[in-house]
């Protein structure tokens, strides 16, 4: 194919590594920049709740020693990097004997599943709708109804989520409002469980897809309108190719390239945005866990989730970067011509 040169791959992998390193360093630094430290905050919170805690200062000291918070900052940082590599974030601060990883890991499949399906659906549907809106040969009746699918684009998706819950769960009562699966269903690999999970996923999925696909559609529409007037697009029609071939191989195939780049860059935003959706639907994903860890000031869980998000986003971008030269043969060419 287009030719992934060794330099290109190396450069992208280096970028991937650098992005993760900077992100991970920030999750280390930010909690330490604030006033006070997690342990004192948690203990003083306990004091507020219970009125009095015996030996508060000693507890703080022993916790600090246990978590190594008294060591010089560089030692802490190096130890932290080592832990990150081993995916070990120590114990949860609020649910002490449980390791942070054990809280985060079960949440991960929920979020990954939701996001992968939601983002590909939203991109796929959005791009198709947009390309059809921008294509000159789209039948008129389709041209007229397509814009209706963009009605909900300007609504923030948490609001749309609330609306969906109201209509489908409380009013029509045909779909569950919250959660990942019903309490009375045992998590197992059988149809009852799977269909239950799918039913629970419909509303969160729908709220992300419907509100975010409009952006892709509008962008793609503009790109497609540009392609309409390209010489190669006219020539493809002059050749008497079937309209579907013209549309896919000479239209979408070219117009989608900038959209794909935007998709890669938007991955991060999608992940952070989903936190809100998970919170509204009480969906048992990392977003929901993150929200609870923030309110509980559980730093190790927070760090664990943040770093995971950084790694997932960077990996998504890397994957698309490596895919790009296969999709657009000009990319590696320009690189090797420049260097």
């Amino acid at each position: 194919m287009g030719g992934l040169t060794k330099e290109y791959v190396l450069q992208r992998v280096l970028m991937w590594f650098l992005t993760i390193w900077i992100g991970v360093t920030l999750t280390f630094a930010i909690p330490r920049m604030g006033k006070g430290d997690p342990v004192s905050v948690i203990v003083s919170r306990m004091m507020q709740r219970q009125g009095y805690v015996e030996n508060a200062n000693e507890i703080i000291e022993s916790y600090k020693r246990r978590f190594g918070l008294n060591d010089p900052i560089m030692v802490q940082y190096i130890r932290y990097l080592g832990n990150v590599v081993r995916f070990d974030y120590g114990y949860s601060l609020t649910r002490f004997p449980t390791p942070a990883g054990e809280i985060v890991r079960p949440a991960l499949p929920w979020t990954l599943g939701l996001l992968i399906v939601a983002s590909t659906l939203s991109f796929g549907v959005g791009v198709t709708v947009g390309a059809l809106m921008g294509w000159r040969k789209t039948p008129a009746w389709l041209q007229n109804i397509l814009p209706a699918s963009l009605t909900f684009t300007s609504i923030p998706y948490f609001m749309f989520g609330i609306l969906l819950i109201f209509v489908f769960a409380f009013w029509l009562k045909i779909l569950p409002a919250t959660g990942g699966y019903s309490r009375d269903v045992d998590p197992a690999f059988n149809w009852t469980f799977i269909s239950d999970v799918l039913q629970h996923a419909i509303l969160p999925l729908f709220s992300i897809v419907v509100t975010s696909m409009g952006g892709w559609a509008l962008g793609m529409r503009g790109l497609m309108i540009g392609v309409n007037n390209e010489d190669y697009f006219l020539l493809a029609q002059a050749k008497g190719l079937s309209p579907t071939r013209v549309f896919f191989r000479y239209g979408i195939r070219n117009a989608i390239l900038p959209a794909l780049t935007a998709f890669a860059l938007g991955l991060g935003g999608l992940i952070s945005g989903s936190t809100l959706v998970e919170w509204i639907f009480a969906y048992p994903g990392t977003g929901y866990v993150l929200y609870r860890s923030i309110t509980a000031l559980d730093y190790s869980v927070m760090q664990n989730i943040c770093n995971l998000m950084i790694i997932i986003t960077a990996t998504g971008v890397l994957a698309l970067d490596l895919l790009n030269p296969l999709i657009d043969p000009r990319i590696t060419f320009k690189k090797s011509a420049a260097s």
């Binding site: 000159r136 190669y232 002059a238 050749k239 000009r330 060419f333």
Partner: protein
């Protein structure tokens, strides 16, 4: 009957672009025919409507443009108002195009083999192996090496791309090829090579062609008949020898005088004035604002085409019998 040998006939063609500020009359009552095996040159300055006529022949005038009136006949059959599906069968099998600006006529993300192959596959059932052999022999016909088969357009030079377009145009041995300034974006040497390739292919296949261009020198060497357009109107059509020996229309005379020559260094003839706005053409002759021979009677109506010699037509009042 003479009509039988006319492969392509353009009859009273009117094309207008309906812009918000009025209709651009880009082709007015254009008449033209091409006989079997003939090359007809279509010349005129930029913006006079050459590409518009070419696109109208292909039924591919882009919005806001539209064929307002007229017929395009291929082997006697009118193709204006054919359905999209019927047109698809005519395109490329009967009517091929070498587009203006070959630099951008190939899809940058598809290999040459796919872009040449799909044109053939769209019209013929052909096995993968035969298709490959066919594409390779087409590349060979236009003097391109076999490796081009697997290349992307950005890996080719301008001249090579143009030759790919030529190979593509002759792939189905169409009745007529429309070449829209096939050489204008290339440097002079490559221009000659590409023009020669085009002539070779044409000679071998005996295909008819319309060659659009504004280089009168190049036209003189390649075409059998010349059609001169000015501001959307056909002003003179005739055999290349008689057009060059005896140009009749003042605009044609001007075009031929402005061909640069080494032997006599004349000051470049700057054609005075600009073409009028095609949105509101004047009544009378379309060339009235720039014509050195303009008279009051020129301002009354666009003069009809009159036969001034064998196959030599001109639209100028000065040649009308009183």
């Amino acid at each position: 009957m003479a009509a039988n040998e006319k492969i392509l006939e353009v009859l009273d063609l009117h094309v207008q672009y309906f812009t918000p500020r009025g209709a651009v009359k880009a082709a007015n009552a254009v008449n033209l025919y091409v006989k079997a095996g003939e090359i007809v040159g279509l010349v005129g300055e930029s913006g006079c409507g050459k590409t518009t006529v070419a696109m109208a022949i292909l039924q591919m005038v882009q919005p806001p443009g539209r064929i307002v009136k007229g017929e395009i006949r291929i082997n006697g059959h009118n193709i204006v108002n054919l359905s999209e599906a019927e047109l698809r069968k005519v395109r490329w099998r009967e009517l091929a195009l070498i587009p203006q600006g070959a630099m951008n006529s190939l899809n940058p993300v598809l290999r040459i083999r796919e872009q040449m192959g799909d044109a053939i596959q769209a019209h013929e059932a052909i096995s993968a192996r035969d298709l490959k052999a066919r594409v390779l022999s087409l590349l060979n016909d236009v003097g391109l090496p076999e490796r081009v088969y697997n290349m992307y357009p950005h890996e080719l030079s301008g001249g090579m791309k143009q030759r790919v377009c030529i190979a593509m145009a002759v792939a189905l041995n169409p009745a007529i090829i429309i070449a829209d300034e096939p050489t204008s974006a290339l440097d002079v040497v490559v221009q000659r090579v590409v023009a020669q390739t085009l002539l070779d292919v044409k000679k071998r296949l005996g295909v008819s062609m319309i060659m659009i261009g504004h280089d009168m020198g190049l036209q003189a060497q390649m075409v059998d008949r010349v059609a001169v357009m000015y501001a959307g109107n056909m002003v003179e059509v005739g055999p290349v020898e008689s057009i060059f020996a005896q140009p009749l229309h003042p605009y044609t005379q001007l075009l031929i005088e402005s061909i640069p020559s080494i032997r006599e260094r004349k000051p470049l003839k700057v054609t005075e004035g600009l073409t009028h706005d095609l949105r509101n053409p004047p009544t009378g002759c379309c060339f009235q604002f720039r014509c050195p021979r303009v008279e009051p009677r020129c301002l009354q109506a666009q003069p009809a085409m009159i036969e001034a010699g064998p196959e030599h037509l001109v639209s100028c009042i000065h040649y009308q019998a009183r």
